[in-house]
């Protein structure tokens, strides 16, 4: 604990928010030993006393800190120590072996709740078993989540009650980040145990909600953080508003995970209402900008506002760090379908080259569209259906069929060749094309029969959507295409 507080003092003296946050980061995979030593530095009471000494009575530190603030930090580190105990236990790092009396060959692996509660070996095996069960269920991820939530509350209280300054905001980030992770692990753990069929007293019960109980709760806590940042009226240089995009991004992630992306809209609404008092978006860290723009884009995408979506996603794409392959992949997952609809263009092989996953997702489809291969398009869409639906891009990609059809009809037009121009002028393309010719092409490419009325319907759609210029003369059974640019944007 002493070493931890030493780090805290160093970071505090230089006002280094990130260093400060590091002292509250339970990075088990990289830092297990150090975390263990922090945990083992005492029991509940002694840690409490130590912290009190270090923060309140120890004058050697000479930190420029009010006593109010010192109490706040003291409580935070106590909560952190307690949460650490739960985390280490849940990670399986804190185990003791207990010999069962009467069964000398049997050892029970027991995770202790806390060092201050040692198991009494005088208990009968039965009671040890019971105790074991109790302990094992207690050190679940759910209790990790609860303990961490308590820490988060303490940190929030630091800002509301203990005069914390805004440079310490990375502590809030760490709290929010790990809270979300622990909530998901808690939900996953409960799900796999299959227990907790809680009697539900609501009329509109929803098993989904049960499944994400911790994460739902987490969303509420994150909302507190969001509001904590939003509601700060201090001048911008001292404002917690600098934390707002981090909080929003965490909220977005949580809402998407909860399948309630629509709730993100509320956040955006609140944000745009208070945008005047906010620091410039460009002055936030780029990582936060990218994440925010990505989610803003996806939200617009889900509402089928493709132009808006494209704007946000393009910005995210441009800002994204070139090494962040995964993020670029995510952005492109939505940007590519967007582009297909708004500009009718497909990703080049070069663009997709570094992303094998995206190639698998889009390449077949893109080829079919390019060739005007209706059957190939249908197949590619079906093959990728599960993945597309999961990413909510199925409905958008489906509309790529229009482009595939356009390309097919264009081929028919080109195959029609040229006729003599009027009054012996230069050759011009044949612009009167029988519906039957288009019908034949669609039948060939789609691999199934289709009646003339439906063909006309498809042609009408092409014209209506400005993919093809001209008109249908129904009674005479042919299509009259425009002499100039029958297929806008394709060179013919």
């Amino acid at each position: 604990m002493d070493s931890l507080i030493k780090e805290f003092r160093a970071a505090y003296a230089d006002q280094l928010g990130n260093d400060l946050a590091k002292t509250l980061t339970p990075d088990v995979p990289n830092n297990a030993a150090q975390l263990m030593s922090v945990w083992e530095s005492g029991n509940s009471q002694s840690v409490k006393d130590d912290l009190k000494f270090l923060f309140v009575r120890d004058k050697s530190a000479r930190l420029n800190m009010s006593s109010e603030e010192a109490v706040g930090w003291q409580e935070i580190y106590y909560s952190y120590w307690k949460a650490l105990g739960e985390i280490l236990a849940a990670e399986g790092l804190r185990k003791s072996r207990v010999k069962v009396r009467d069964h000398p060959n049997q050892w029970l692996i027991v995770s202790l709740v806390s060092p201050s509660e040692p198991l009494s070996t005088s208990k009968s095996p039965w009671s040890i078993n019971k105790l074991t069960c109790r302990i094992l269920t207690q050190t679940s991820w759910t209790s990790v989540y609860e303990a961490w939530k308590e820490l988060t509350s303490q940190i929030i209280r630091g800002y509301t009650n203990h005069e914390f300054e805004n440079w310490t905001i990375p502590c809030l980030y760490v709290a929010g980040k790990y809270m979300r992770l622990y909530a998901m692990r808690a939900d996953a753990e409960r799900g796999s145990n299959g227990d907790e069929m809680v009697t539900n007293f609501q009329d509109d019960f929803d098993p989904e909600t049960e499944k994400h109980k911790s994460l739902e709760d987490c969303a509420r806590q994150l909302n507190r953080i969001f509001n904590l940042c939003l509601s700060d009226r201090a001048p911008l240089s001292e404002s917690r508003k600098w934390g707002i995009y981090y909080a929003i991004n965490l909220l977005f992630k949580t809402y998407f995970k909860l399948n309630s992306a629509a709730l993100s809209k509320n956040v955006l609404r609140v944000l745009s209402a208070g945008r005047g008092d906010m620091p410039d978006f460009e002055s936030f860290p780029k990582s936060q900008q990218v994440t925010f723009k990505y989610y803003e884009g996806v939200l617009a995408f889900l509402e089928e506002n493709y132009e808006e979506a494209e704007r946000h996603l393009t910005l995210a794409w441009l800002l994204c760090h070139k090494g962040a392959t995964r993020n670029m992949e995510l952005i492109l997952t939505y940007l590519i379908p967007c582009h297909l609809l708004t500009t009718h263009t497909l990703p080049s092989a070069k663009l997709l080259a570094p992303f094998p996953r995206l190639q698998a997702l889009f390449l077949k489809l893109a080829t079919a569209i390019k060739k005007g291969d209706l059957r190939g398009f249908h197949q590619a869409l079906q093959e990728g259906e599960d993945e597309f639906v999961k990413r909510r891009i199925y409905l958008t990609l489906e509309r790529g069929r229009d482009i595939a059809l356009r390309n097919l009809l264009r081929k028919v037009f080109i195959a029609g060749g040229f006729i003599e121009g009027a009054e012996g002028g230069a050759q011009v393309r044949r612009t009167r094309i029988p519906v039957a010719e288009f019908a034949a092409a669609i039948r060939m490419s789609g691999g199934q029969d289709i009646d003339t009325d439906e063909v006309e319907c498809l042609l009408a759609n092409m014209i209506y959507k400005n993919l093809m210029k001209g008109y249908i003369a129904h009674e005479r059974g042919f299509v009259v295409l425009s002499k100039n640019g029958a297929f806008p944007g394709t060179g013919v």
Partner: protein, 518 residues
Amino acid sequence: MSWASATPPGTQPGYVSYAHGNFATSAPHPFATLQPSYSTFAMPSPSESRPRINADMVPFLAATAYTPVPVRQGFGQPYTLQPQYAAYANTTNPPPAPAAPPAEPQQQQQKIDWPDKVRSYVQRSFESKNMLPDVSREEMEAKLKETISHAKDAGIMYTTDWDSMPLPRSSAAASTEPPARATNHHNSKKRKSSDFSESDPSTGNPWRSNKKLLSLSDRISQPPGLDSKSLKQAEKAENRKQRFNTAEYKTYRSPSPPPPTGPILGTCTNLEKNYLQHILHQTLDLLKKKWRKENNYNYICDQFKSLRQDLTVQRIKNEFTVSVYEIHARIALEKGDLGEYNQCQTQLRALYASGIKGNAVEFKAYRILYFIHTANRTALNDAIADLTTADKEERAIKHALEVRSALALGNYHRFFQLYLDVPNMGAYLMDMFVKRERLAALANMCKAYKPDFKLRFITEELAFESDAEAAQFIIDHNGQHLLVEREDSIIFLAGNAKQLFETARADAHRRVDLKGQI
């Protein structure tokens, strides 16, 4: 069962006469003066006589005995119709007269026709075996007073099954008043005292900490149609219950969890309605029949809501619940009541998700069509993501997905073909947006076709039933000038109509009335 045998003369309880006396003075509280009569055993009493029930009281009581009234008010007590009491009330043949004039109880020596069940009920309450050491007589009496006056007021004095009525002591014990020492009643000869002999007052009241449980038990009525034989058994059962602890109650009450803290308001005005599941099954059958026969949507919707409320209150979530919601959803669909339909749909989704069987496929298909109608893209996306591979092979779901696909691609030809062949009741949902899609299709056609085509083409493409209907649709949207007669057919001047239908389309697509409530 005669009075004499039921109530030995020596123990003719004074409370009856007091009750009577009190009826005359302050009718709603027949037990207001009850306490003095009992206090003959414990404290100075203003009354040493034990007057009998005054015959003058009979009209009063009888007048109410005939009135059919709501039984389940406030879920207070388990009142059940007892035919034999109705008969009894008849034989006493009371003249329907106003209540007796006020009279001092001490002076009333005439007999009164209290139902002997009431007498024995009160008597049983005060039997030593049923008394609890720390429940004061006053409390008991207050409770009794409340119970009986309620029965009187509700006119169910004769129809109440007093034999199976829980004794008032538990509620009294649960009251916050300081316990007073109870006095043993001298009479223990009253019916089957041996039944009580095993009860041990010194063990304390097992219900004291379980007021909730008792109040729930209060709400459960006995199955109707108990005859005198089963009454005896019911009595035994009652005694057994009182002897044992609360665990006994768990077997007695219906399999529903403890009630919420808030009040439960009943609206049932049906005398014979039982608060148990089997009656809900009968209700559903009845409602189905009524719907077929009368087709009165407002009534049936109301009834279904009540049925759903009962299911909710009792926390019944099984296949029966699913079928109630399914039937209500279908009826709402038929009547175009989308608000109600959506409520049912939401519940059904949750019910199916928790693994309860039903017509999940049918309703998954409706759900897709519903979101097409409300143009809720996000929800539609989610609904599709919910489908399993097997689901997608089902005809109804396939159909709904094709409808969606046809609309997404603007393939109105296909859309209206699908409209003509909808599985189950999906057509009612499609009816909701077919007008909107007709406008979209017309806007489309008007831009693409030149110069004109026969009206028949629209009739066929947009699935109108006749040329007349198609023409009417166009006229309704101010397109009369676009229809001209040429030779032997009507021609639609598509080339001139572009703007008209584009505007109409945009209007129709802009807003979807999500509620659609009737």
